[in-house]
């Protein structure tokens, strides 16, 4: 029994960490600029495609493909942010929703055109395949790898946010945008950097997700729902919130399906509705 609980916690946590990488960027940008970017999942999708392509066409190893996915998405997002999205910060929520849905449509069509509708495959190096047995429990090596990557990134993010100058600026901009601007902070620039970081992380998450959930042009839509759940449950603009929300969602999902398979698919939605009714701002939301 205990070993089952351990394995469910482990698997759920790994899935949750994947969701965390995919959604943390959206949470922070939403909290900072109130900009609803439904195209966030599309960055994850293209991150996955970048990783698959460089591994296939250029034969680069997996560990090189991951940072490349991050960089490519960060650069792409800055380009899109500077040319398109920045016009919309003052626009209403509904217009942002409409515009970014439009972007998702275009992204899906572009992915279909370039890569075809076929499911993409990522070939992992041997040392990431299979599982190890510890105390009679089998742990998937790749899942452990995902957890490791996510924890390192969380540590970097928390450190960056608490200790660096940019981190302080971001916190200021999230807490009170007008005040920060009044104090001479270039909020737009800070935002552009945050946006790039967030989308880069989504790209990284997308690349990591290929092995677990696959990759096709509808990835952007599929993941959007999960990402939105994580963001709303965790609370806007909070890294720890996204972390907790994602872990909760991942573990809840896996545990629900394991212990009560008949109602497994309901559980996360019940959880979502219940949490939001009790805490409309999410678990860690400030406003």
């Amino acid at each position: 029994m205990i070993s089952q609980i351990v394995i469910v916690l482990f698997d759920g946590f790994a899935f949750g960490m994947l969701l965390f990488l995919l959604s943390v960027g959206l949470s922070v940008t939403l909290g900072m600029m109130n900009f609803i970017n439904l195209a966030h999942g599309a960055f994850g999708m293209f991150g996955g495609y970048v990783a698959v392509t460089v591994m296939r066409q250029l034969g680069l190893p997996f560990l090189v493909a991951l940072p490349l996915a991050f960089i490519a998405m960060a650069v792409l997002s800055v380009m899109i942010e500077r040319t398109l999205f920045r016009r919309l910060y003052k626009a209403g929520e509904l217009n942002q929703v409409l515009f970014t849905i439009g972007v998702v449509f275009v992204a899906a069509a572009a992915a279909t055109f370039i890569f075809g509708t076929v499911q993409q495959v990522i070939i992992l190096p041997d040392w990431l395949r299979g599982s190890v047995e510890i105390g009679g429990i089998r742990f998937g090596i790749y899942r452990a790898f995902i957890i490791l990557v996510a924890l390192i990134i969380t540590a970097l993010l928390v450190f960056g946010l608490e200790r660096t100058r940019l981190g302080a600026q971001i916190r200021a901009a999230v807490d009170n945008q007008r005040m920060a601007q009044g104090l001479g902070l270039d909020v737009e620039r800070v935002f552009a950097i945050t946006f790039a970081l967030g989308c880069g992380l989504a790209g990284l998450g997308g690349a990591l997700a290929v092995e677990i959930v696959g990759l096709s042009p509808s990835f952007g839509f599929q993941m959007l729902v999960y990402v939105l759940i994580v963001v709303s449950v965790g609370g806007l603009g909070s890294i720890s919130g996204s972390f907790a929300g994602a872990a909760l969602l991942g573990i809840g999902d896996v545990a629900g399906k394991y212990f009560w398979p008949e109602i497994g698919s309901f559980l996360i939605y019940l959880l979502l509705v219940a949490i939001l009714l009790v805490r409309p701002l999410g678990l860690f939301g400030k406003r």
Binding site: Q4, G116, S131, V213, G214, S218, G256, G264
Partner: protein, 392 residues
Amino acid sequence: MLKTTALAMVLGLGVAWSSGAVAQETLKIGVILPYSGPFADAANQLQAGIDLYIAEHGDEVAGRKIELIKRDTGGPAPDVARRLAQELVVRDNVDILAGFALTPEALGAAEIATEAQKLMVVMNAATSVITEQSPYIVRTSVTIPQVNYAFGTWAYEQGVREAYTLVADYGPGIDAETSFAKGFTEAGGTIVGADRTPVANPDFSAYVQRVADADPEAVYIFVPGGAQPAAIGKALVDRGLSPPDIKVLGQGELTHPEALESMGETARGIITTFHYTLERDDPLNKAYVDGYTAANNGREPDLFSIGGYDGMHLIYEAVKATNGDTSGDALIEAAKGMAWDSPRGPMSIDPETRDVIQTVYIREVQEVDGELQNVIVHEIPNVKDPLHGAAQ
């Protein structure tokens, strides 16, 4: 107020105007498929099968030029499929309805085929009941009970006594679960556990862990094609559930080429049942695979492609037999009992149920020339759908 009335009139006029077209010399085939959305890949592969047949056999049959009119349903959307079928019949004057990758969509459009008296060729959707919904429906793909019932019996004959079933929680999955279990238990086997996974399931670890806890002799798996076969395959390996420790059984989607590539070495020994095998050694199949890969940037044909290809074959031959008469009654009569050699092997149309009769192949993943392939280990010829007639 006035505006609304005017609007109503404009809309009303639009309908009256568009329905006034006349029949033409071309043979119009309305193809209804989910070209976008989560099943886009199935639609594209099926379409490529159709295109290949037309490219090989010319776009003219019995003196009539073939014209395809493609319509997108965007996913499992029976009401959309029905509306599109209606529009195709009424507005575009199509002679034949074709496509139908998904069961709900075929069911949605069936009534239109009956009312309009048009031949409806189901090129993929695989639930038994479909052909019973209209006397104008004929199927060129496969039915799930067809491949799985015999598979259950075979598994028992191979010495498997206990199996656990894990299927996707939707029509086809439940059909697969039922028919495999029926074949297996009637032969004397026991189902020790059965779970159903949500259709859009991103992570299988929980379900696979339940299978591992039960520690059965064999596990039977049915998941929709696409990303899931590889995902579930890898989840199985992570739990140590791979041959030879446990027999992994499934329907052919589980080991389609992309899934094999992704699973790699761990796929070895998985046994699947299917009606089409890419590597089947046969000149017709070789030519088909070569033609297909050449036309599609090296992409290999799959179950969808063969359904579309044979579907077009049926249309061509039926139109030839009626000498260009495209009334639904004439075409369906011509289709009944039709038999031919397809790249998948010999197949025919049951004159009573208008459903496909074909060979079921049982394949095992083995290494051939350094590559993992589905190698046929057993053939069961002339299999009919076991559920037809059972319901009446």
